[in-house]
């Protein structure tokens, strides 16, 4: 009897954590799956990068992966390619997303852009590589058309399997990914803000300059970082477009793994993988920090 009477005082302290802990169990299958099939490969990349071919711990692989000239060149091209295509993709993606949002809801145009964004952003690079070969390859339609009007791309030194050609192809999946990532933030801009600004005499330009862009800045920065990571991680396009002739980090990893010529080369490949994970990790921390600031506006 006494225990029944005393109970009401306790629940807040004891039941809540217990219930939260049990609720957390619901996440277990999802978390366990990611731990095994994403964490597992990452674990072997990290341990492999830090040991030599005999299994003894060493930093030699990591040192080789950041000091050897061929790998430094690969990092330089990968970083440049990712930065440029992320910026171009982000700028065009924002304009396209805003154009879609301000069009009539439920219109066919809107459905076409949103479904096409999904397919293009996730199909990966293989169809895109072949589409660009069809358009801008030696005998591609666009190449022939441009030659017809007097612009000979290939005489000017353009090649579809060059860094420029690769960048042009990357933008094709960067823009759709930007549309997907930035649309929620653009939809979070309240119409009242614009109305208030207009009532106070602001032009469209000063509304964007002083209200919309500052509010959007963290979301824009975060999405651009994801685009950067996406391009940095991409390999399928390069593989299909060039069969691996452009020096990228991803290409170097693949050739270090498959090249059984030199002993220990595989571990250098894993060290390059570790370097990539570190770069991506830094990018993701930046993304999470920006995302937290962006959430300040969306939670209201």
């Amino acid at each position: 009897m006494t225990s029944l009477l005393e109970q009401p005082a306790a629940p807040k302290e004891t039941v809540r954590p217990a219930r939260n802990w049990r609720a957390g169990l619901g996440l277990l299958p999802f978390a366990a799956y990611l731990l095994v099939f994403l964490g597992g490969p990452l674990y072997f990349v990290i341990t492999g990068a830090l040991t030599d071919s005999g299994g003894r711990p060493t930093f030699a692989n990591v040192l080789a992966s950041i000091t050897e000239p061929q790998y430094r060149l690969a990092f330089a091209s990968s970083l440049l390619l990712s930065a440029v295509t992320a910026l171009i993709g982000a700028v065009f993606g924002v304009f396209l997303a805003q154009a879609v949002i301000t069009s009539r809801p439920g219109s066919p145009l809107r459905r076409i852009v949103s479904t096409a964004s999904g397919v293009l952003a996730y199909f990966g690079g293989v169809p895109l590589a072949f589409a660009f070969i069809g358009a801008l390859g030696q005998t591609g339609l666009a190449t022939l058309f441009l030659r017809g009007v007097g612009i000979d791309l290939y005489a000017a030194g353009f090649r579809i399997d060059s860094l420029t050609g690769l960048g042009l192809t990357y933008v094709y999946f960067q823009i759709p990914l930007m549309v997907i990532l930035i649309t929620p933030a653009l939809e979070g801009l309240l119409p009242q803000w614009r109305e208030a600004a207009e009532n106070l005499g602001a032009s469209a330009w000063s509304y964007w300059r002083h209200i919309a862009l500052p509010v959007l800045a963290p979301a824009l920065g975060g999405a651009t970082l994801v685009l950067f990571g996406n391009a940095f991680a991409a390999y399928a396009t390069a593989l299909a477009l060039t069969s691996g002739s452009i020096p990228l980090v991803t290409t170097s990893i693949a050739s270090a793994l498959s090249g059984n010529v030199l002993a220990g080369q595989q571990n250098v490949g894993l060290a390059l993988g570790l370097d990539m994970v570190v770069v991506i990790g830094i990018v993701m921390v930046g993304y999470l920090l920006l995302q937290r600031r962006a959430a300040k506006w969306t939670s209201r």
Binding site: N20, G24, G26, L27, F30, Y33, L34, L38, G40, P41, L42, F44, V45, F92, Q98, A99, T102, S103, G106, R111, A116, G118, V119, L120, Y122, F123, G125, V126, P127, L128, F130, A131, I133, G134, A135, T139, L141, A142, Y172, V226, F232, A233, Y235, A236, A240, T250, I253, A254, L257, Q266, G269, L270, G273, M276, V277, I280, M284, Y287, L288, A295
Partner: protein, 261 residues
């Protein structure tokens, strides 16, 4: 107002040119015949080339198993987070970005290490065929956008009310999920299944590094080294097919919601 419209038209025209020219060019390229003129010979290769046909079947099998596993993992988790753990929703949302940026080539490097160096029976059976070896990792690659699509679908329905009503009427958790929630979000479910199909039909990095050469995208790239037209034709066909499927789901879902509202 008119100024705003003109600005939109300019954006759409530029986007249409950039996005349509490569597709149209690929279409034209895929219809070229070796001796000149146009025909569907490149598209018919899928029926006449046994290697390609077999690869397509393997990839479709992988796609189906991957999609089912993804949905089994994602739907209960997303429902659970919305009902019981709203505090971690933001965390999960951010976590779903991870597999987009973890390079498949790095994942493949780790898996290749296991494939080459560990010899327990469990690994041997895992790596025995492309279906058992690739499917678990394609699930990881497919999780981020499947989670987003399903979560958006759940946001659009009165989830708590539906589940509580089902539970009050005596339904267990499983039956509430299968018979109440699943039908309500069927367009999101179909959407993520078709995006998984897109991913499986486009993934060449992990398959190439682990040396499973019997999947469709690998076979298509390989055939392209001798006949580029066939590669262009088949990738274009798989891209357009997936897109049409998604578009159909989008229109079907849109009609349903506009009718009920």
């Amino acid at each position: 107002m008119t100024r705003g419209r003109r600005w939109r038209v300019v954006v759409f025209v530029i986007a249409a040119i950039y996005f349509l020219v490569p597709l149209v060019a690929a279409g034209e390229f895929s219809l070229r015949k070796p001796g000149g003129g146009y025909g569907f010979a490149n598209y018919l290769a899928i029926a006449t080339d046994p290697v390609l046909l077999n690869a397509l079947l393997v990839s479709l099998e992988i796609a189906v198993v991957t999609a089912v596993l993804v949905l089994i993992l994602v739907i209960p988790t997303a429902v659970w987070v919305r009902l019981r753990l709203p505090a971690v929703a933001g965390l999960l949302e951010s976590a779903t970005i991870l597999p987009i940026v973890v390079p498949p080539v790095v994942m493949a490097a780790g898996i290749a290490f296991v494939q080459a160096n560990l010899d327990a029976p469990v690994f041997r059976s895992l790596f025995s065929s492309s279906i058992t070896a690739l499917t678990p990792f394609y699930v990881v690659l497919a999780l981020p956008f499947a989670y987003r699509a399903i979560d958006n679908g759940l946001a659009a329905i009165p989830l708590r009310t539906l589940v509580e009503a089902a539970r009050n009427l005596g339904a267990g958790w499983a039956s509430a999920l299968l018979r109440v929630v699943l039908p309500a979000i069927r367009s999101a479910v179909l959407g993520s299944a078709f995006l998984t199909l897109a991913l499986v039909l486009g993934e060449i990095v992990i398959a190439r590094i682990l040396l499973y050469t019997d999947t469709f995208p690998i076979a298509v790239v390989d055939v392209g080294r001798s006949v580029a037209g066939v590669s262009v034709a088949l990738t274009l066909a798989s891209l357009l097919l997936t897109w049409v499927l998604l578009l159909a789901v989008s229109f079907a879902g849109g009609r349903r919601t506009s009718r009920t509202s």
